[in-house]
Every structure is written in C-alpha cells, then in structure tokens.
C-alpha cells in the first residue's frame, strides 16, 4: 500500500509512514506517526497530521504521495457530505471506504496513494477498511500500512486479540507505532491517535518523550 520514493524529484513530498487502525470492544482506534519526508533524506515536517476526518465519526489515514492523498480526501469529503444530505443519515463507514476506492480504482494510473478508513456507524458498529494502491477494498479487524508497517507485522500478529478494552487497544496501538518508528527512518515524531466510539471522537497525542521505551533504550 505504501511506496517509499528514494528519488525526491519524481514524486515530491511523500509520507513514508506508519499507520494503523484497530477495532476494540465498542469502538475503533486509528493512529499514525507524524513525519513527512522528501526523498527519505530530509524531514519536511515533524508534526504532520495524517488522520483526516471524512465525516463526524469516520476518519481515514493516508500513505503514499501526500498531494494525491490530499486531493482524494478532499473529493471524498465532498461526496460523503452530499451523500449524507441525500440519505438524511450519517454515512456508513463502508460508504466512505467505497468512495475512496472508486477514486483510487478509476484513476489508478495517475495516483499513488492508499488509505485506511476507520469509523463507527449505527449499522455495523466499529469497522476498519483498507483501500490499497490499485483500488482493492477489504474489511479487517485491524490493519497496518505504510513503510514502517513491515517491521511490526510480527508484533501485531502476536499481540492482537479480538474484543480488547479501550485501554488495551490504545496501548497496543501506541506500542506498535513506537516500535515501527524505532526501526523505520522515514517514520517518526509523535503518535497521533483518534478513538472513535458511539459517543464520539477523541484525539490523543503522545509526544516523543512519553512513548514507551523498549529494551535497548
């Protein structure tokens, strides 16, 4: 889902990144690091927010070319707000994911961006959807993406449990992002989390000095 560009001329600013979304009992947490880099050599932003709000209780996070991702999410936000006016109801998380998927699939030749969509709706509760680079859409209980995600496949496979409590899930997400940021040089900065439940949305920011420390630190 991610493409990390070593040549900054061809693709400009890209979010070499680590993003994830995890469902828990009663909600979903979506999280990311905060680094944007040019060519993997220069950190162009230390505190970028990669968690985009598509609707009241639906967020997505972006991986790949920042420009493409911003253009797509702008179009998706418009589609979704129009859709929810027509339906007279908040949109389903699946609807948001489908909008992103349509844009990615129809324009797959020009675009280089992938998304994780997470949110809560009345029909199915907390959900996580992945839209990959070519426009595939699937639903998963949790998912990781971005260049830093390769390093935490083992960790998340081992540690994920279905129906965690909110606190367990938050710690799982923070640990996973911290471990990825520790090994991937184009992920870093602070940890941004958004916790979405039936009641609403809460932002949690964990600055670098409050991240958990592992054995070699």
């Amino acid at each position: 889902m991610e493409k990390h560009y070593a040549d900054s001329q061809t693709k400009g600013v890209s979010t070499g990144t680590t993003i994830l979304a995890v469902t828990f009992d009663g909600g979903v947490i979506i999280g990311s690091d905060s680094r944007a880099s040019i060519g993997g050599e220069y950190v162009s932003s230390k505190t970028i927010n990669k968690l985009i709000q598509l609707h009241d209780q639906i967020f997505c996070c972006i991986a790949g070319s920042l420009a493409d991702a911003q253009a797509i999410t702008k179009a998706a936000k418009f589609h979704l707000s129009f859709h929810s006016v027509q339906m007279e109801n908040p949109p389903l998380v699946m609807a948001a994911a489908s909008v992103l998927k349509e844009l990615c699939y129809k324009n797959k030749e020009e675009l280089q961006a992938g998304f994780i969509t997470a949110g809560w709706d009345r029909k199915k509760g907390p959900q996580v959807y992945v839209v990959s680079l070519g426009g595939m859409l699937i639903s998963q209980p949790f998912t990781i993406a971005g260049s830093g995600s390769t390093f935490i496949y083992g960790y998340t496979d081992a540690k994920y449990k279905p129906n965690m409590t909110r606190e367990e899930c938050q710690q799982f997400a923070i640990n996973a992002l911290t471990l990825a940021m520790g090994r991937d040089n184009v992920s870093g900065g602070v940890v941004h989390l958004v916790v979405i439940t039936e009641k609403g949305v809460e932002h949690v920011v964990v600055p670098g000095d409050k991240l958990p420390k592992f054995h070699d630190e």
Partner: protein, 217 residues
C-alpha cells in the same frame, strides 16, 4: 526455436535462502534458530534445508542470502577454524570464528551476497552472538537476519528482555521464527533450533504443525 527454450524457471533463477535467522545469548549459552526454505525465483527448491551450520563443536553460524555464497563461507571458515584450533591447542573462541567470517564477507563484499550470524559458547566469555552483515563485526545480545527479519523487528524489540533463561530464549526464537515464516514468502517450512552451552550442543527440529499459533490462525 532452440535458442528460446529456457526450461523451468528454477533452473535459471539464482538459488537463495531468502530466510529468517535469529540467534540470542543467555547467561551460559546461546540459542540459534532458522526456517528451512530455499527458493529459486518463485519455486521452493528445498523445503527442509538446515541453515544452522556448525563451524566448530560449540560454534554455529546461521546462513542467509545466496545459498551458494553462504554455504561456501561456512565451509571455508570451518576449515580455517580447524587449523586455528589445532595451532592453539584448544577450542577456538566465538570471536575468532566471527572474525574469520567477517574477513571473508568484507574482503569479497562486492562479489558475495550472504549474511551469516555467528553464535556459540566458549570458556572465556560464555555465550556470544555476532552479526557480520556487509563485513562489519559486532557483538549483540541477539541478532536477526534474512528477508523475514524485517517483519519481526517490532516483535523482538518489544519482547526481548535481559536475563532470560534458556527455555525462555528457545520460546522467543520459536515465536519469532513462526511470525516471520507466516508473513515472509521466502521463509517457511520447519524450524531448526540449536542450543549451545558449556555441557552440550543440542539440535532440534520443530515441524510446521507443532509451531505456535497466533490470532489469525
């Protein structure tokens, strides 16, 4: 046209031990582990290869990268260590074995593409693990290598603790190998474990259906 007939792909692809290898030291010895898959392109040409190769009675190395390069280095160092230990009249140090591997890896770094992790026990320093990637020589509490290692960096960073017992180390090695084998297409098969301490060198095989299972299995 005879010139165009190339035969099955695995006859012309380079044979690699795209792999997962790990070695960890504990107070009194070391544990080494590896998967057993050897691939040539997309074909698995050997599904039961033991990538833990003895360099001496209490010193083993774990092979990764090009199968031919790795095996040749191990054979040469095995010979050199025999000569060396005859010259000094006692068992060689682990550091000596690692240095011999490093010397070959560094001198021929342009021609070779193999990474060997050297681990063993000697009277002077007890259990030791050395990494020799790209021709460096560094002693570490544990080391992972091969294509599958990327996926488990997060897991080993999170789970490693100082002062583990031999049994905890063996469990750690088996869990790490299992997680990597399930995510890396170039790792798989069975798990080979070697435990070396003052009293014995023990080789073990764990078959695929006896490996631990995690959430999605």
């Amino acid at each position: 046209n005879m010139l165009e007939e190339s035969g099955p792909e695995w006859l012309s692809e380079e044979v690699k031990t795209g792999t997962t290898i790990i070695a960890i030291e504990y107070n009194g010895g070391v544990v080494l582990g590896s998967d057993s898959r050897v691939s040539a392109g997309a074909s698995v040409v050997n599904r039961v290869m033991n990538k833990l190769s003895p360099l001496h009675d209490k010193i083993y190395c774990a092979l990764s990268g090009s199968a031919a390069d790795a095996q040749t280095i191990a054979e040469i160092v095995n010979y050199q260590l025999d000569v060396h230990s005859a010259e000094i009249g006692e068992d060689p140090q682990v550091r000596s074995a690692a240095t011999l591997v490093k010397n070959i890896s560094y001198k021929y770094k342009e021609e070779l593409s193999a990474h060997l992790i050297v681990a063993g026990w000697d009277r002077r320093e007890g259990g030791q693990v050395f990494a020799t990637l790209n021709g460096l020589l560094t002693r570490q509490p544990f080391a992972v290598g091969g294509s599958g290692s990327s996926y488990v960096y997060g897991f080993v960073d999170a789970e490693y603790r100082k002062g583990m017992t031999k049994e905890e180390c063996q469990k750690f090695v088996v869990n790490t190998l299992t997680l990597a084998m399930s995510r890396d297409g170039s790792s798989g098969g069975v798990a080979y474990i070697v435990s070396i301490d003052e009293h014995s060198t023990e080789e073990k095989v764990i078959l695929g259906n006896k490996l631990p299972t995690f959430y999605d299995q």
